[in-house]
Amino acid sequence: MTSATIRGSEAIPVRVEVIVSSGMPGFTIVGMPDTVIHESRERVRAALRSCGMRLPGEKIVFNLAPSYVRKTGSGFDFPMAVALLAALGQVPGDFLHNKMVVGELSLDGTIRPVNGLVAFQMCAFEQGLELLCAPTYDALKNITKACIVHTCTSLQSFFEGEFGLPAAYPVETDAATVDFSDVGGHVQAKRALQIAAAGNHGIMMMGPPGSGKTMLAMRLPTILPELTAHEIAESARIASVAGESIDSILRGVRPFRSPHHSATLAGLIGGGNPIRPGEVSLAHNGVLMLDELPEFSRNVLQGLRQPMEDGKVTITRADGNVVMPARFMLVASSNPCPCGYFGDKQKECTCPISKVSAYQSRIGGPLIDRFDMCIDVWRSDFEDVVAGDAASSSNSMREAVLAAREFAYRRFARSDAGSRPRSVASLVEECGMDGATMSFFKEVSSGNVLSGRAIMRTLSVARTIADMELCEKVSVEHIAEAVTLRLRGSDSLEAGGLTA
């Protein structure tokens, strides 16, 4: 009899064995169960009784194998009840042969869904089994990596052989979806987000409070390409384990996560006991937005570096490592100074100059080398806000993004650049600049405008801009635009007299 438990963001199969033997009447569970599983004794007993079953006055021992894995969660109630019934000959054993059973029991025998059903479904598929669980919306359909799912409302209906199929999410007709056409003005910012989306560049938005940074970032997923079937399975599994709704993921919308700046390290990269996927894993294949970046604690941001480099989170515990995927696009926003109004047209900044300087140098923090672009978002005029901007809707913006990605993909396929790590030399080669462009770029990078780190980032952004215009070669205009999008460095602080 097979069930499964969640570890990290994956389900691993667990065999549920039961023996009913003579001895002191009792009900024992062995095989590293956690407290929740220990308590399932009472739930199983009551649920069986409510169906008119009486437990035999004999010694009942459950074993959860492999016994060295710590098992968690209430999903073992249903399989244990079913296994017991099979052992007592109440259920034909071969019915359970090709099933993985997961579910929590209530005292009256109703079966409740547990978190992570998508993970269970994928695990069952790998084992060549069918999943039997409580009625749910969270099921992958028409996707290769998923198996047949049977649902069952209660132990009673299980007896009677009434099984159903997972329901589709109720369709919300008036679903309030966001769109870039709601955002008036912000032409530069929209263009920058489009570039970021096309090239998967980390982007930093700076501007006073209420200027629309969050509003812009929230609309970023609407211009990203749809999730592929494989990505849907990955993202849905993680969301399902975390107990989040997977409705939008199933529709192909990329996840958008924006953790509050009070988030802890465990909340952001995952952790806790049992280990739960963090925000970076929930943002897998999507967008991670760090609103008010300087307010995040430094060690939390430091903890983000490794996942960003590897595209996955590794959490090390005494009983082994748990690896969870975390490949996302990074978006951050920040005020330009502690009071937020530095450089604003209408409202004067009240911060002392030393505070502004300290704040600005802190903005990138430990993640400074993870941002390719930086834009200023200003508060829009009243007319712009009211008018909206029907011309640049998410759909039209997305088309350009898709075209650029397609172009870059073809370009990669033709060359062997994709197979090597990107170095400055290979990037320069990819850009294919002509003489005039090259000398322009040299002038810019030597003329104190670009720092060493910025040169590489500028080039890669310029390459993306050229991709958006479907150009093989990077031109002067592309470089110039990339330079205006570069991160604020110490050079701009100096220009403003913020340093000595």
Partner: protein, 327 residues
């Protein structure tokens, strides 16, 4: 002293004043000859006696002699590159003519004026608010040490260890005005500490020289108001040198050639940015692209800006605007 001067030490590193706490400076001390110049002593700068409440004594690190005369160059801490460039330019000219440049050692215009004077091989005096061992801002420690090493002085009316509290800066402004023969204001907002120094200068009958700014620029509102009230406008090197001649008797020398690219002077974009720093989208409205680039003015503008930035003519400000990097 004024009633605002009460403060209590909380511990070795903090002091409480007016309900706020302030961190004390704990870095290294400035090296140099230390003098305490009493009022009526031989070394005491006599022109200081003109001002209201002349300081009882001056605490000097460096050369007390250079306090006798000089030109004060002051401006906003939160300065634009325009103000900074003006501070540098006029301070350098004064230093080249052997005139001591006096300023407050603060962020922005003040530190640029000191720096330019040092670079021009001149002497300069920093008059601090707190005591000379309470270096403020602490990041300027090296600048102050260079000032002393170059034969200048770091001065305060406060005891060596007196904490740098807000009111001390207002008070020291009168000494800046008092020590100097004239006060040049390169950029001042309204209201601002620089503007109040101008008042101090007028009270003690000092000449007030002002660099005008765009009337739309908030950071030049104070400067322009002073001009309206009758201050002497400094509109180019020539006028500055004329004024220097009449004040200090320094000779005027005409530069042989202006190294500037004549094309730059007729550049509409540069002219617009010189008048007022702007954001990218504002520049697009203010400046017309040449006809051959009319189809994509934004691309033209970005290319131009980056070119100018590479040349060091235009700079991107910390608030995201573009403006002139130098004059």
């Amino acid at each position: 002293m004024t009633s605002g001067s009460n403060f209590t030490y909380i511990d070795d590193s903090t002091v409480k004043h007016g309900g706020r706490t302030f961190k004390l400076y704990a870095g290294p001390r400035l090296k140099g000859e230390r003098h305490v110049v009493e009022r009526f002593a031989k070394d005491y700068p006599s022109q200081l006696l003109d001002i209201e409440r002349p300081p009882e004594r001056l605490y000097v690190i460096g050369e007390p002699d250079c306090l006798r005369d000089g030109l004060a160059v002051i401006g906003a801490r939160k300065a634009t590159p325009y103000g900074l460039a003006c501070a540098e330019r006029f301070s350098a000219i004064a230093a080249q003519k052997g005139v001591t440049v006096i300023s407050g050692g603060a962020y922005g215009c003040d530190s640029r004026a000191h720096r330019a004077a040092l670079d021009a091989g001149g002497r300069t005096v920093a008059i601090l608010g707190g005591g000379c061992d309470q270096v403020y801002p602490s990041t300027h420690f090296r600048l102050f040490q260079e000032i002393i090493d170059a034969g200048g002085a770091v001065v305060s009316e406060r005891d060596w260890d007196y904490p740098a509290l807000p009111f001390t800066f207002r008070e020291r402004n009168r000494i800046i005005a008092g020590c100097s023969r004239a006060v040049l204001i390169v950029e001042a907002g309204l209201p601002s500490g620089t503007f109040s120094t101008a008042d101090d200068a007028l009270d003690s009958n000092r000449e007030v020289l002002v660099v005008p700014g765009a009337i739309t620029s908030r950071t030049s509102a104070g400067s322009n108001k002073l001009l309206y009230q009758g201050a002497t406008p400094i509109i180019d090197d020539e006028t500055f040198e004329d004024v220097m001649f009449s004040l200090f008797g320094t000779l005027r020398c005409t530069p042989c050639a202006d190294g500037k690219d004549p094309a730059e002077n007729s550049d509409q974009l540069l002219a617009a940015l010189r008048a007022q720093p702007m954001r990218l989208d504002d520049i697009l409205v203010a400046v017309d692209a040449p006809r051959e680039h009319a189809s994509d003015p934004a691309a033209w503008l970005r290319t131009r800006l980056v070119e100018l930035e590479a040349k060091g003519v235009v700079a991107r400000f910390p608030d995201g605007r573009y403006g002139p990097a130098s004059l």
